[in-house]
Amino acid sequence: MAQAQEFEKVLSGSDTNVAAFDEHKSAVRRIQHFLHSTPAAVPLIVLVLSIIIFGITIGGRFFSSYTLTLILQQIAIVGILGAAQTLVILTAGIDLSIGVIMVISAVIMGNCAVSYGLPSVIAVALGLAAGAACGLLNGVLVAYMKLPPFIVTLGTWNIVMATNFIYSANETIRDTDVDTQAPLLHLFALSFKVGTAVLTAGVIAMVALVLLLWYVLNHTAWGRHVYAVGDDQEAAKLSGIQTKKVLMTVYTLAGLIAAFAAWVSIGRNGSISPSAAVTDYNLQAITATVIGGISLFGGRGSILGTLFGAMIVGVVSMGLNMLGADPQWKVLLTGVLIIGAVAVDQWIRKVSA
């Protein structure tokens, strides 16, 4: 063994207790640690609390399986878009364009099936491909041109939106036309009754997608790389991760999922409108993600949290509706939840050994 330096000789007599912190952890510290290792816990707790609170104030009506499943139906699209947004935010990016990607994909699916008379399967495939292509454009600009994601997707938001209006001439495709010519586009409107609970294929698709992504993010190398890139891109690169490829696949996948949300939205809305409320969807997806505890600084959070986040928004708006409150209360409460979620995120981040 190496000869110790002169000044280090005294080390042999040093205290051998390693890191002798006072190990009585306060309850608060223990909660902080638990939340740090279980990022989806906060939104889950908030979700359960809000269900209980509305349940008490509204009464049995709110607890009916009909109401609760109706909430799920209402959040299916936002939940799927939120899943796409989660992937991007985990890499410390943001995708402002997923809302319009969804709309243009829906228009393409509708036009191909109804106006051009292509087989519905091909129409759906073309719609999905268009969404993925938009995502790929974002990915190339972010990963290879190294432009900030906020700017890139703000730009593609405008580009895609304008393309959508020029291409569609702002014509709505009617529900009945879709139904007669391309019933496949209404696949996700299929509903099943279990007692009074009503589940649509769209709800099932949302839950299945989130579970699938949860598996991919936590149990595959690619998923771990997504977290590593968002956590510290330089470190990830030096550890041998192909950060550009990871970023590109993330944005492309987000585009593809947005196009999938388009398919689900056709099922829910019936008709296909090029002027659907894009901004609403965009902000709701980001809201669900943030309330779900996905850190905007990247690398932290669980996609299950996004699902809970979307449910929180759904429960709050349904609850306030049933109470007959002014709809603005919902907006106000959403704002409070967003700020609260980010504050909790900051607090959890401060955890250390």
Binding site: M1, A2, Q3, A4, Q5, F7, E8, L11, S14, V18, A19, H36, S37, Y215, V216, H219, T220, A221, W222, R224, H225, Y227, A228, D231, D232, E234, A235, A236, K237, L238, S239, G240, I241, Q242, G299, R300, V351, S352, A353
Partner: protein, 260 residues
Amino acid sequence: MTQEPILTARGLVKRYGRVTALDNADFDLYPGEILAVIGDNGAGKSSLIKAISGAVVPDEGEIRLEGKTVSFKSPMEAREAGIETVYQNLALSPALSIADNMFLGREIRKPGFLGQWLRMLDRPAMEKRARDKLTELGLMTIQNIGQAVETLSGGQRQGVAVARAAAFGSRVVIMDEPTAALGVKESRRVLELILDVKKRGLPIVLISHNMPHVFEVADRIHIHRLGRRLAVIDPKQYTMSDAVAFMTGAKAPPEAALAA
């Protein structure tokens, strides 16, 4: 020395705009040795190390590993060739677990259907190997291999980074300022780790500003000055003040030590 060097570089040039960071730099590393690289700030040590570890591609010059010419375009390629680097910032992902960090970029997948088709990671295998490696290097004061790296102390993080390099480095381990951010006791631990790694027969390139540490563990000292190798000295024949004088240009090195 009669042995053939394991890693050599000849005439490396790297320019950043008008700045020449490497000006015909040479480098030799022999099997089983600890070679310290010292130099003033801006002498080009980092650029030299980055060129060898694949983090930058030199504009000119040749690098040979075990006699074969190599040209790394990414750290991944250098790693695949058996050159592992412990970077000054450690290159760890704070939110990921110790095991995940050690296997970042070279994860083990489950055998059979789960791994091949579902791409499932083999967590138990990765955690076991990570634990074995840390224990081997005497680092197992860490309670939980699944805990996030950000919950570790500075010395423990350094330990994880060194363990990662030692676990996968098959030919060369490069360490950039491994003790710079550490306390006295933790520095001692890392120096012991370096000697442990050397005992396994792996040659080590140690970049450091800490002269006592350099003179304690190094077999030879490569002095870098103004973008090139000025001299290689034997720490037993020169004092620390000699080394500092050479590296800052206060004194010219003796002819014998001058690099060929």
